[in-house]
Symmetry: C2
Subunit: 342 residues, 2 copies
């Protein structure tokens, strides 16, 4: 019983073109031709085609099917496991995508901005965050979610900051310090008080001009806030120090370098991994910590005690520093009890 190509196509639900294709790539060559050149398929051809169809339904590529049926290449279990892994990854990727899209649509219906350009910049921001943070981290960053209140609060902060800069307000003015304190406080909350997130965020804002433009948080704004924040902290230290000590601290107080955030993030990382304070690596970190501390605290242990007192009396000093009691104890142990760090 020989079938012509059209009949075979009808029986199998494939198209004639598909059978032509299989013939041309050598996957299924009809075992005979009529005098006129018509393809003639016999039972064995049909059986082979059925197997091909079965394998195709497993989303296997034609070349893989060919190799499998020819006996060349890896065997069944290998191929199936490969397929399984591949499909699993695909599902995961697609699901993540769909979830993100769902979130975006939610924002689209929630928010009142059907403006294409605005929406695109929002999207751009999101993808930028995606590049710098893992999915798990993103969920801990409060301002990337759907919380529009939080977003507008930040927008307000930025507007106020720019206005102050435009009005020529000094970072040492009270209103600037209040803003800076609120700013950093919100930032600590929104980074889940995790110094690693804070550090990554700083890194991202340093690397991506795009995000600075789109959030309005320019280098100028950042500098202003950091400066005002430093002023607000210095103000808290003042009454605990002698004029000389205060003057020294003021001139050497850390600016907005990324040294401290990076160090703090690193310490936190070691803590989370359960590394002992006696570990050499941790000791090195503590050493760095102590050096950086002395840079503005000076070398007099008496001054250090005063600073410690300030930390106890003024809770605002440890606020928005991404440091908690546990970390202070940890560093204390790492550095040895004889010296008193920040």
């Amino acid at each position: 019983m020989l079938l012509k190509i059209g009949e075979l196509a009808k029986r199998t639900g494939l198209t004639v073109r598909t059978l032509h294709h299989y013939d041309s790539i050598g996957l299924l060559k009809p075992s005979a031709r009529s005098d006129a050149g018509y393809r003639l398929y016999d039972r064995t051809d049909i059986a082979r085609l059925h197997q091909i169809q079965a394998l195709r339904r497993l989303a296997m590529s034609l070349s893989a099917i060919g190799a499998l049926m020819a006996g060349t290449g890896p065997g069944l279990p290998t191929i199936i496991d490969q397929q399984l892994r591949l499909l699993g990854e695909q599902i995961e990727r697609t699901e993540r995508l769909r979830d993100r899209l769902g979130q975006l649509r939610q924002q689209l219906t929630d928010g009142q901005e059907p403006e294409l350009a605005d929406w695109l910049t929002t999207l751009e921001l999101m993808t930028m965050y995606d590049r710098y943070f893992s999915t798990e981290e993103l969920q801990r960053l409060a301002f990337v979610g759907t919380d529009t209140d939080r977003k507008s609060a930040w927008a307000a902060n930025v507007t106020v900051a720019r206005a102050m800069i435009d009005r020529g307000v000094s970072p040492s003015d009270a209103e600037a310090q209040i803003l800076a304190a609120r700013w950093m406080g919100m930032l600590e909350e929104d980074t889940d008080a995790d110094p690693r997130l804070f550090h990554k965020l700083n890194h991202m804002f340093g690397e991506e001009p795009g995000i600075r433009e789109q959030t309005g948080i320019s280098a100028e704004v950042t500098a202003f806030i950091h400066s005002a924040f430093a002023e607000s902290r210095l103000a808290l230290y003042e009454k605990y120090l002698s004029p000389d000590e205060y003057a020294f601290m003021r001139t050497n107080f850390p600016g907005h370098s990324s040294d401290w955030p990076e160090l703090i993030a690193s310490v936190r990382q070691h803590m989370d991994h359960g590394v002992s304070p006696e570990d050499p690596e941790v000791r090195a970190l503590a050493e760095r910590w102590f050096t950086m501390f002395r840079r503005y605290a000076g070398d007099d242990p008496a001054t250090w005690m005063k600073i410690r007192l300030a930390h106890e009396k003024e809770p605002g000093l440890l606020k928005a520093a991404w440091i908690d009691e546990a970390m202070i104890t940890f560093i204390g142990k790492a550095i040895g009890r004889d010296r008193t760090p920040s």
Copy 2:
């Protein structure tokens, strides 16, 4: 600040070729060229590229992105909803596929047949079932799952049947009748006692020579079983009927036509959909039922009563008929109380 193509590529993580491609399809044309013909991208180009990248991460096609950014074509919400739907379908399909593959791998490790050809025919069977039955139906068909005991039981049945045929055993022989009764009983169990599944199965075996070959359930085997099953039922009727009645029934007893299964399946369908027995469609079905009944029961109501008595006394007669009490009552109502059907 104008960027050459390589610099832009490095900044965005794309390849030069990709940017060439975007240029050639008009998605992103650099706003300037150097004297030597080098592409020069300015800020607005870069911004546009960022938006393109953002949209690409949503798995949107380049043409869709182009249309969206040009403002032609459907707006954002439409596109997003489309994407969502598309991704959802894709996920579903892929998940079904992965599950099937997982099942197959399971069978591969369970079973002791690493023989490619055998495994391929198994796979072929599965895909054939897939074509004829929905996912939900497949779960109700006992022999398509991983139940190897059930499968080997069926294989044994087939072997026994073929042996009988080879030995020239008559369908009216006791051993043939016992086999047939077991066969049909298993079939009723394995089709979840649903006449629709039974009918579909019959249809499938009628249409697909492949499945007949691979299960070994040839037309000959089917005929033998049906014949023996009819004999076994006739034997049960015999003692309730006069010799004349029995002779009439014997000559007219339904063979293996698909009339009865189809009719029963159709009735069941209407019952499940909550259609009333008084419904014209149902009445027509009942009429057909009655006609087919009289074809072998004759026209004498006295004979009908005897048959009814047989049904009450011999539970084996309603076994493996895909008929239950509810259906008999339903048909009774549809046909009117004055006539007594099967």
